[in-house]
């Protein structure tokens, strides 16, 4: 039973960067970005192909992030410069990325057996079987710190204000289009980082691994949002931490679902229902409280 939850925690840590990316697009910029499904797979695909070619990890990581960021930049460009709705821009790029990923991968999947892995990079003496978990935690904590720092800088304030009141930011000398493109690049770079981690943790990259992954990120952000409303947490750093926590709860629910014997084929449906429940609870509780 415990293994289910440890695996869930490990997956939550690997998917944490993606959830943070969705927080940036959805909560900071108020943009529904569907590029995620494609950029997550892109990160995994680039990682798998490069690791299979024995490219060192310190080159693989920035290249994966860069590819994800490029996908986000294209979505941002289509949305801001061509005036296409953000949702449609993301769908277009996500669709195109399926072909791109297939071309890079060369086949439907690549197993990563005997290749270098970030989880083998360090062998923490006290960790034992939890080595991979601790490395993932360390990696995500560094990322978390960097994102929190960025959102507190002058640039970060301009980012947050752009999503909050674009009329005001234009008058404050902010180039709204440029800052949105940078934000989408950042978010998808983070998503690709999750692809980088998951490919190595699972030991393979698959062309379909990103399908519906945006729901996982969305669910994490919505759980975080619900906790934020209950607790009144306002500081941006704590909100990002909540997203990571939301990701853990999300994965724990999935682990629980599997542990009680629900058919794994129904997992995606359970995921969707869980997110629906989170979204519906505030509305339903208001309706019932009025009655």
């Amino acid at each position: 039973m415990g293994v289910f939850y440890l695996t869930a925690l490990q997956m939550a840590l690997c998917l944490g960067p993606m959830a943070m990316g969705i927080f940036i697009t959805m909560k900071v910029f108020n943009i529904p970005d569907i590029t995620t499904d494609g950029s997550y797979t892109l990160g995994a695909v680039v990682t798998a192909v490069l690791l299979s070619a024995n490219v060192p990890l310190w080159i693989v990581l920035p290249l994966s992030i860069l590819c994800g960021a490029l996908a986000g930049t294209i979505t941002g460009f289509i949305h801001t410069k061509l005036g296409i709705d953000a949702l449609l821009s993301g769908i277009l790029v996500m669709t195109a990325l399926y072909s791109v990923n297939l071309i890079i991968l060369g086949r439907s999947n690549i197993p990563l057996i005997g290749t270098a892995s970030i989880f083998d990079l360090l062998s923490l003496p006290f960790a034992g079987s939890l080595n991979a978990l601790l490395i993932a935690a360390l990696f995500v904590l560094v990322l978390l710190f960097l994102i929190i720092y960025l959102l507190r800088t002058d640039f970060g304030i301009a980012m947050r204000a752009t999503g909050n009141n674009p009329v005001m930011t234009k008058a404050m000398g902010v180039n709204n289009d440029r800052i949105k493109i940078i934000g989408l690049a950042m978010a998808n770079g983070l998503t690709a980082t999750s692809g980088f981690l998951v490919a190595q943790y699972q030991g393979f990259a698959d062309i379909n691994m990103g399908i519906g992954i945006v729901i996982t990120g969305l669910g994490s952000v919505l759980i975080a949002d619900a906790i934020r409303l209950w607790t009144g947490i306002r500081k941006i750093g704590r909100q990002i931490m909540l997203v990571l926590f939301g990701c853990m709860i999300f994965q724990a629910v999935l682990a629980f679902t599997l542990s009680v014997g629900v058919d794994p084929n129904l997992l995606k449906m359970v995921t969707a229902l869980f997110v629906l429940t989170i979204v519906a609870i505030p509305k339903l509780s208001k309706t019932f409280s009025k009655q």
């Binding site: 800088t153 640039f155 304030i157 204000a161 909050n164 930011t169 234009k170 008058a171 404050m172 000398g173």
Partner: protein, 249 residues
């Protein structure tokens, strides 16, 4: 300082619903002037302010600030000269950011929004001192979300934010329209103080005839997309409320 030359603005040109919002407007405003603009709805006064701000571009004509042609410059690049106080207090501030964060952005209006944490104790003190001059006790609410403040408080802060960074021109489009009389007075007195003490050029649109008479050293009246009256400081002094009301009849 500001030169508006033969500015026209036509919406839906060549179509059945063509609207001529401004027609061949010429205007020169010197540094430090406080220009009050009045006119009926649809007379073109907001259109002119929007073109100065860069929200919309003129159909013809040119706009110069300090001899720099800004006619086709995007809005965010004009912020080095111009700051704006909108009619709706909600437009001028980011509600989900704290008061201090809003001020930080305002302090960098003409500058670079870089990768450093600019909110430190010095900055907090600077903002607190400025906000304290309002006498509203808001210096104790710097860490509150801007959205939790009243419209009057937000508008007064917006005005202060407008002059946090160096600015030459302050545009105010009916800044007191959504405020109660007391808050309106605070905002107008602050605008007057900013003009007199800092020498910042102000263009104020108002529907309050009382404010039009009380504040400013020049009065413009718009009608049908043209400036039909342009009164200097001395001419404005002799003006009565009844005279102004007669202009609108």
């Amino acid at each position: 300082m500001i030169k508006i030359q033969h500015i026209s603005k036509v919406y839906n040109k060549g179509q059945e619903d063509e609207v001529r919002a401004l027609h061949q407007v010429d205007l020169a405003i010197d540094k430090g002037e406080f220009v009050v603009i009045v006119g009926t709805n649809g007379s073109g006064k907001s259109t002119m302010l929007n073109m100065l701000l860069g929200v919309s571009l003129p159909t013809e004509g040119s706009i110069l600030i300090n001899d720099t042609n800004i006619t086709s410059l995007p809005q965010h690049q004009r912020s080095q000269w111009i700051s704006m106080v909108f009619q709706n207090p909600a437009y001028g501030t980011a509600p989900d950011l704290t008061v201090l964060e809003n001020f930080r952005l305002a302090a960098l209006r003409a500058g670079r929004k870089g990768l450093r944490i600019g909110i430190n104790e010095n900055f907090r003190k600077t903002v607190a001192d400025k906000v304290a001059t309002l006498g509203m006790g808001l210096e104790n609410k710097l860490d509150q979300l801007m959205g939790s403040l009243s419209g009057g408080q937000r508008q007064a802060l917006t005005l202060l934010m407008g002059v946090m960074d160096r600015t030459d021109i302050l545009l105010m489009d009916e800044p007191t329209a959504a405020l109660d009389p007391k808050s309106s007075q605070v905002v107008m007195q602050l605008a007057d103080k900013i003009n007199k003490e800092m020498g910042i050029t102000i263009l104020l649109i108002t529907h309050s005839m009382k404010d039009a008479l009380t504040y400013g050293n020049r009065l413009l009246m718009f009608h049908g997309g043209e400036i039909i009256r342009d009164l200097s400081k001395d001419a404005k002094k002799s003006l009565q409320l009844s005279d102004l009301q007669e202009w609108f009849s």
